[in-house]
């Protein structure tokens, strides 16, 4: 692979019109920012919904006049009705999982930085890249449409949870509020999203395999690139299954097929086949939907978190001023997580009616996936060990990621066991587990990435004081929100309950429920500081040079922001691994990947010797 041929093949001139430059751009950097903006918009919707949910759970029946005004159908007189709450559950989950956790980490930061970090001028297929964003954007418009055209006055979307279990999701209006047009739009939105993600995944894989610059061998890539690559492979293999499942579900709803609907159902007083609103169904399997959904759904968890893992590794090394501990083990761990991620979906279905022997197999495979996760944690600690840590805002969030990943991931040891799933399944213990690990930890990875790469993307630094304030409150806040939820789960509080007032055994938990809500509202409010910092710093932030963090990888060898073709016509040549910090004998405590040889300075001079003792190199 020579740099010259790359230039010839992939060079395209910088566009001049506003539309080609910022709207239908082919530039992976613009597309990356578009994805991030989409996620920033989507997360506002998702967070607002979570606040509404917490209000309803902790102060049930309270009249909130503003809700009555905004949602006269869903909260008549200001008190939320149960179907309104359940539609919030569904939309919150769907918007967060698809349009936040799948867009920002991969489509956003991956798009922007994968080509630059491997020394390419753009993605392999720029048009495909543009399409992948705009297809995803259409998916987002459709999911928003589900809020306004839910087919029911009293909901803001369908009722089904983000998992949309059939046959509830397959039967249509007859199954109650939230099963009408909103459910069609929900399925269509997800199907569109699948297509967008597939286009993106193809592009990521091709780009990474074919477009690395001279010297950028696979084992010299930053761990971020390994994470984005593996995520793309997971997306490529899992989204088609969801797409297929979604199409079948839509056919069950609209064309009278019976993929997920068995015969002899009697719904809302009507027997299947005896009424035009409820055509005859026979032979479908509700469990089939769960297999298709979770065959996608479990890899999706890793699609959400792997980029955060990559960013964390990258940023920990940069600010510990130290090479990543066990780079090779980290790469294998990413692969192991990606591979095992495809063999564990059944742990969502232990009590679904699936064979108990399958359940046992899935259970043992599930706990095995904890091993590479633990290996990553050990290596993060190893990276910090002996470091010289600079506590910048991105570093705080990266350390927060490690803490939260452990806190959220470790309870998988409970939930992955068949026996223990009997009491724990569908309780708040599950809610706590996946929110911490795939939600909050992933988002911490993205906060870290935002503060870290913002100066490269916009040429200015984000405000450190605001950033640190944002970190402290958010870090403490998410612990306060999600740790007590484990306790609720142990007591036996079921998820997806609009109210807990019906059950005596749940009353003891009320103080915790209120505490969590207050913590949630406070944590959400602090995110305003983040949004302010982000947009204020774009225009008023301190100017960043090429390499404000004294980092080593290729994105820091070009201007901030990088030119249209990333390296101004001169593709970089790579001479070493990505995390050469604290190299003994080097002039600085960081050696860029593009630096041909380490400049030696006379031994004994202040600040040059380093104190490395283990020169073991891969």
């Amino acid at each position: 692979m020579s740099g010259e041929s790359h230039e010839a093949v992939h060079r395209h001139p910088a566009p001049t019109s506003f539309i080609r430059k910022y709207i239908f751009s082919l530039d992976h950097k613009v597309i990356g920012i578009q994805y991030i903006m989409l996620a920033l918009a989507a997360v506002l919707v998702g967070m607002t919904m979570s606040v509404l949910m917490r209000m309803n759970l902790s102060w049930p029946g309270t009249n909130w006049p503003i809700l009555g005004t905004l949602f006269p159908g869903g909260a008549p007189g200001g008190a939320m009705n149960p179907e309104f709450y359940l539609s919030l559950v569904t939309m919150h989950g769907t918007i967060m999982v698809f349009f936040v956790l799948t867009t920002a980490p991969q489509g956003g930061f991956g798009n922007y930085f994968l080509p630059i970090q491997i020394g390419a001028e753009d993605m392999a297929f720029p048009v495909l890249n543009m399409l992948s964003f705009w297809v995803t954007f259409v998916g987002f418009i459709v999911i928003l449409a589900a809020i306004f055209f839910s087919g029911s006055e009293s909901t803001v979307g369908p009722i089904g949870g983000w998992t949309g279990y059939a046959p509830l999701s397959a039967l249509g209006q007859i199954a109650g509020p939230g099963q009408g047009m909103g459910m069609n739009l929900w399925i269509i939105s997800i199907a569109i999203f699948c297509v967008g993600s597939l286009l993106g995944a193809l592009n990521f894989i091709t780009t990474l395999l074919n477009m690395r610059t001279r010297g950028m061998s696979l084992m010299r890539m930053p761990l971020t690139c390994w994470a984005w690559f593996t995520t793309a492979v997971l997306a490529l293999l899992s989204f088609p299954v969801l797409l297929g499942g979604g199409i079948l579900l839509l056919l069950d709803r609209l064309a009278g097929t019976s993929f997920f609907i068995p015969g002899g159902l009697y719904v809302s007083g009507i027997l299947s086949g005896t009424n035009p609103n409820f055509p005859v169904h026979t032979g479908g399997s509700p469990i089939l939907w769960q297999h298709l959904f979770w065959f996608f759904g479990h890899p999706e968890v890793y699609i959400a978190i792997l980029p955060g893992m990559g960013a964390t590794s990258h940023i920990l090394a940069t600010f510990a001023r130290k090479p990543v501990f066990g780079y090779r083990a980290m790469v294998f761990a990413i692969f192991a997580i990606g591979l095992l991620g495809f063999f564990v979906w059944g742990h969502h279905m232990f009590i679904s009616g699936m064979s108990p022997y399958s359940a046992m197999t899935f259970s043992i495979l599930t706990l095995s996936i904890g091993v590479p996760s633990a290996v990553k944690t050990f290596n993060w600690l190893g990276t910090l060990w002996g470091g010289r840590i600079r506590f910048t805002t991105p570093m705080l969030f990266a350390i927060g990621f490690v803490s939260l990943f452990v806190a959220g991931g470790i309870t998988g040891l409970v939930l992955g066991q068949t026996s223990l799933d009997l009491p724990m399944h569908d309780t708040y213990f599950v809610t706590a587990h996946f929110h911490l690990v795939m939600g909050v930890a992933s988002i911490f990875g993205m906060f870290s990435a935002t503060y870290f790469w913002f100066p490269k993307m916009f040429g200015r630094l984000m405000n450190e004081s605001l950033g640190k304030f944002h970190f402290w409150v958010t870090f403490i806040g998410v612990y306060c929100i999600f740790v007590p939820m484990h306790t609720m789960g142990i007591v036996g509080m079921p998820r997806r309950f609009a109210q807990f007032t019906e059950y005596e055994y749940l009353k003891t938990l009320h103080p915790l429920v209120v505490f969590v809500s207050i913590a949630a509202i406070a944590t959400v409010l602090v995110q305003i500081v983040f949004y302010f910092n982000l947009f204020w710093s774009m225009f008023k932030g301190k100017r960043a040079g090429e390499n404000p963090w004294e980092a080593t990888t290729l994105e820091w060898t070009t201007s901030s922001p990088p030119p249209h073709d990333n390296f101004a016509g001169h593709l970089p040549v790579v001479y070493r691994g990505p995390y050469e910090f604290a190299v003994p004998g080097a002039a600085n405590d960081f050696v860029m990947q593009t630096q041909p040889e380490i400049a030696h300075q006379p031994v004994g001079q202040e600040g040059t010797s380093g104190n490395g003792h283990d020169g073991h190199r891969h």
Partner: protein, 282 residues
Amino acid sequence: MGRALAVIIWILTLLSVSLFFVNKWWFPTAISSHAAALDRQFLITITVVGLAFTAAQVGLGYMVWKYREDAARTRATYTHGSSKLEVIWTVVTAVIFIGLAVMGQSVWASLRFNDAPAGSYQVEVVAQQFQWNFHYPGPDKVFGRTDPKLIDDSSLNFIGLDETDAKAKDDAVHSVLAIPANRPVELILRSKDVIHNIWVPQLRFKQDLVPGMAIRVHFTAITPGKYELACAELCGQLHFKMKSYLLVLPDDELNALTALPQDQFQTRVTELLAKYPLPAQP
């Protein structure tokens, strides 16, 4: 900054772990024969989880406390890792995690790998949106024929029981689940419409009811009493209200109940519900 972060991490760890020691917020007292082993497995697992969580957080705090940037050292330690350490922690975690997974199968196997013992007390459970129907076979111990075509909620034939079937004559259908104490119980789980889930926290037991399937599960309850029974799978608008009770009755009381004809059965269940209080709150 490093010290502050370390202290915050340690405090959060301490508070998180101590929350699991609050008695008031723990499992309700168990009432089933498999629960002791299950609770023990949970305790072992949560102890491993707690220790690993604490170790990782204390370690993380230690790293950020100790290795903050200072003037004493001009460079970080230059190392790319240690293959020996990688092997050690991979093997150790693999043994612990997979060991836990294997241990966690025993209760599961005892409940799911074999059929209910012969002579188990049988109840057919027919769930529907926001209502539980429990179908008792009556003194003949044989369930009468049911057919979806005969279901008629408006005339209260919720499960489609065929009144013309001789075996259906002594059957009873009620919204409360009454089972014997200290005798194996087999539930035959069905659903009329969407997926539901039968969940009694004190039983440490949960199972989906899937339309189109008849799922057979078994367990043994030990302690007589009245317990709340919930639906634990999102089934629609009033999911949170799909509530019933589990009555675990001493043998004589249960036998007397099941011998009753349908109308007296209903009255007697109401009396029993009033007789037994809910478990005291911790």
